[in-house]
């Protein structure tokens, strides 16, 4: 359908002034077979499930694959899809039973082997999969993915195929909510052709989701079409999705306004003021599992000496989050009052206000705390951020402004831009930060564990500030070993209260996902990962 429309545009451009009024407006096809065009960014990595760690590739995997579990697009709860049941008695040994009747779109049956092979591929160091650490809880990970040197085993010893529809998983620690992590794209099954003809698979990926790849012009457009024989309960409600690569979200927005594009999932910051007027209720602005923080370098003795906790809490209280989210972000972010995200829901562990007064703007108390704690180390601090993407300068300057105003000192806080994101990351890895720095965390799966353990557990993979607290670690261990979700969440929240006391990272705000769509389509919403739920979109 869109092809025809585009051809018409070309003719219009060619004859320009002659038939000005005849051009414009799209032609909507009949209900279920019409194709939706959506904005996309060129994925950074090849589209392998265990190698996709950013949202652009994630969009494709969401359409192309279904795994053991899927996160409910509305509630974020992990629900069984291919899994019939996942059983354990000790939170360490799991037996996974698959539902029958699932196939890949090339006809191959989805079996226990499809999962075990895929996970072994993802974990093996030789394959350089960026999501390999997601398999770290499975027994034998240190053999296939050692910290140094080359792998001494090809497969994870913790994975065993029992029969076509059953496999067992042994973890190297107790982890009661582990089954709920299995909705993440790294855990998707793969057909045998992935291993046999890897280049062919990458040119035209084959999965088991509601869509099949029709054609893929890399770097330009990926055409996904409805898979008519999809066995799942959530088949596509449209004929297909054309993902078109845009370098500039401004351009995508212009195309949406011109009726040349149906869906954008990133509203440019400069348009946030106009978007309500332009799109009305076709503008989406809903919470996503992203939290922004300022992390302190706890490896720097000036920031970890006795009394520094008071200074850290004082700085948190010196930030007027409400005003910044309103003025700079036009309410596309919400002031944070804990270290998780609203998308978890109360049951999942989100607890507004858990941070208490430490996350509330209170200049007098802030001044007092910083003074009692011995003042800002060296009398002034910097906030480090990367200047190349994401326009972080605006809000960093606003935060510094807020701190300076609170302390009545124009030089108490200044922004410290780093040229490139890579350089910024390298400086963090090399522990070269001397003051708080920007940290954004996009959840991998909607679990409170994912917001706490990787970031603040001693020696954890993304613990960039090198925070270490035995009490926190102990509570996290207890939470992971807890027999049910409710008790686990309670333990995690206890651990979170230690963060409120120690303030190794200042929670700033929860980030929303944003998007907009044309009047040609309806039933559009974003899932907790701020990815549009493509299969639900209807045309007309």
């Amino acid at each position: 359908m869109r092809g025809a429309v585009r051809a018409k545009w070309a003719v219009c451009a060619g004859v320009l002034a002659l038939v000005a009024t005849a051009c414009g407006g799209g032609t909507a096809g009949p209900g279920g077979s019409a194709v939706v065009s959506a904005s996309w960014g060129d994925p950074q990595n090849p589209l392998e499930p265990a190698n996709t760690n950013e949202v652009q590739g994630g969009k494709v995997l969401e359409m192309l694959f279904r795994g053991l579990k899927r996160y409910n697009p509305g509630t974020g709860a992990a629900e069984n899809v291919l899994a019939e049941k996942i059983e354990t008695t000790d939170a360490q040994h799991y037996t996974v039973t698959l539902k029958r009747g699932w196939t890949f779109s090339n006809g191959e049956k989805v079996t226990a082997k499809s999962f075990v092979d895929a996970w072994n591929y993802g974990a093996l160091l030789d394959n350089k999969q960026k999501n390999a650490p997601f398999f770290q809880y499975i027994d034998g990970f240190d053999k296939v993915h050692p910290d140094n040197g080359s792998a001494t085993a090809k497969t994870l010893s913790g994975l065993r195929v029992k029969d076509d529809h059953t496999f067992t998983v042994t973890l190297n620690q107790k982890f009661s909510s582990w089954p709920d992590t299995l909705g993440y794209s790294a855990f998707m099954p793969l057909p045998q052709t992935f291993f046999r003809d890897h280049a062919g698979w990458l040119a035209k990926p084959i999965g088991n989701g509601p869509y099949v790849v029709d054609s893929y012009a890399k770097g330009s457009v990926l055409k996904m079409r409805k898979w008519k024989r999809y066995p799942g309960s959530d088949p596509a409600q449209n004929g297909g999705i054309d993902l078109r690569v845009y370098t500039d979200n401004e351009t995508a927005y212009t195309d949406l306004q011109a009726g040349n594009l149906d869906l954008v999932d990133d509203i440019p910051a400069s348009q946030l003021k106009n978007v309500r007027a332009d799109l009305g209720d076709r503008y989406l602005n809903q919470p996503a599992g992203i939290i922004q923080t300022l992390t302190f370098p706890m490896y720097d003795p000036r920031w970890s000496k006795p009394g520094a906790a008071q200074v850290r809490r004082g700085l948190s209280m010196a930030i007027d989050r409400g005003q910044i989210t309103k003025e700079i972000f036009q309410n596309t972010r919400t002031p944070a009052t804990d270290w998780t995200s609203p998308v978890l829901g109360a049951k999942g562990g989100y607890k507004p206000g858990l941070c208490g007064e430490s996350c509330e703007f209170n200049p007098a108390k802030a001044r007092q705390l910083i003074k009692d704690g011995g003042g800002i180390p060296g009398g002034r601090t910097t906030i480090t951020y990367n200047a190349d993407t994401g326009s972080h300068k605006d809000w960093v300057d606003a935060i510094c402004n807020s701190i300076n105003k609170t302390l009545g000192d124009d030089k108490a806080c200044v922004g410290n831009p780093v040229g490139t994101f890579a350089d910024f990351r390298n400086k963090i890895s090399a522990k070269q930060m001397t003051g708080p720095f920007r940290a954004g965390w996009q959840m991998d799966y909607p679990l409170i564990q994912n917001f706490l353990q990787p970031l603040y557990y001693t020696g954890a993979s993304s613990n960039d500030g090198k925070f270490s607290n035995p009490e926190f670690d102990k509570l996290v261990n207890q939470a992971n070993a807890a027999p049910d979700t409710r008790q686990a969440v309670a333990k995690f929240q206890d651990a979170e209260r230690i963060l409120a006391r120690e303030m190794p990272a200042i929670p700033l705000w929860y980030q929303n996902g944003s998007g907009g769509y044309s009047d040609r389509i309806s039933n559009v919403r974003l899932n907790p990962f701020s990815v549009p739920v493509y299969n639900e979109i209807t045309v007309g």
Binding site: W9, C12, A13, N53, K130, H145, D147, T251, T254, S429
Partner: protein, 307 residues
């Protein structure tokens, strides 16, 4: 003539090596790109080390550069970080950008030279002043302003043209971006032609031609214009290279997946194989365009001879 061309071609070799080395050095100086591949998450050290090894990034610069150049001479421009061979990116990007550049060059030649001749022949009159002021305005408006403005007016408001260019970049859709790309150069071409024409209009050979009784249009096209075009041709020749490499802004605004797009993406992700590969080709385009311009001089002005 033949010896001149060979000499020029030989001169290209040190220029080529020098410029690629400088680019390599600059991309290298940006630091280790692997850390950025993992997003906000701290990279897994073992995986990062493996990627560095595969991309030859674990070697010192003095080893990386010869290794890279060795590959280039075998026609291997390396693999971009998203797993695609850079040659594949080049073949799709350069064909699109080449078409865009051609559209722009044609626009700036036809419109620019016509306006230049027009105002040059009427030096000092109202029409001349108007053209001068207009070109001044065009020169001072940056491309991203004219780009977004024309895109909004023609693409969204009046819906005369598609606001963005489709994947296969048909010529019809390239008219608007081609115009945006050509605007600044067009102003320069107009001004160069005007000055040159105005000067030569009083030359002896023009007076002779008029005295011979030749018709006016023949004097202008065969005698005056041909001699006045030398500075213009020089400008357009160098402009080909500038347009091909400098279309980053225009290509971004109109979502054209050409050289500018790949370069931008490459720089953003610090993807050295892409950046160095594309710039290397651009350097070659520059060198060859300059050589062609020099050879064109002889065609335009018979007094110029190369030995």
């Amino acid at each position: 003539m033949g010896r001149y061309v060979i000499r020029r071609l030989l001169q290209m070799i040190p220029v080529f090596i020098g410029s690629t080395f400088l680019i390599f050095l600059m991309v290298y100086a940006l630091g280790d790109p692997v850390a950025a591949m993992f997003g906000d998450r701290a990279p897994d050290p073992a995986t990062a080390a493996q990627i560095r090894h595969d991309l030859y990034l674990d070697q010192p610069l003095w080893k990386q550069y010869p290794h890279y150049m060795g590959q280039i001479f075998q026609g291997n421009f390396g693999i971009a970080f998203n797993g695609r061979p850079v040659t594949e990116l080049m073949s799709s990007a350069f064909s699109v950008t080449l078409r865009l550049t051609l559209v722009a060059i044609v626009i700036e030649m036809v419109v620019g030279i016509a306006l230049g001749v027009f105002s040059g022949l009427r030096r000092g009159r109202g029409i001349d002043t108007t053209v001068l002021v207009l070109t001044l305005v065009v020169v001072s408006v940056p491309t991203f302003v004219s780009g977004y403005l024309l895109q909004f007016v023609f693409g969204v408001k009046w819906e005369w043209a598609a606001p963005t260019v489709a994947l296969d970049a048909p010529l019809g859709q390239l008219l608007l971006p081609g115009l945006v790309l050509a605007l600044v150069s067009l102003a320069y071409v107009t001004r160069l032609t005007r000055t040159s024409i105005a000067e030569n209009a009083r030359a002896d050979y023009v007076r002779t031609a008029i005295a011979k009784g030749l018709p006016r249009h023949r004097v202008i096209t065969r005698h005056l214009l041909r001699n006045s075009l030398i500075p213009v041709v020089t400008f357009i020749g160098t402009d080909i290279g500038a347009l091909m490499g400098g279309a980053i802004v225009t290509e971004r605004i109109f979502n054209i997946h050409g050289v500018g797009y790949q370069l931008y993406q490459g720089i953003l992700r610090q993807n050295s194989p892409t950046v160095v590969g594309f710039v290397t080709i651009l350097v070659l385009v520059f060198l060859i365009a300059n050589l062609l311009v020099d050879l064109l001089y002889a065609v335009l002005d018979p007094r110029i001879r190369y030995a």
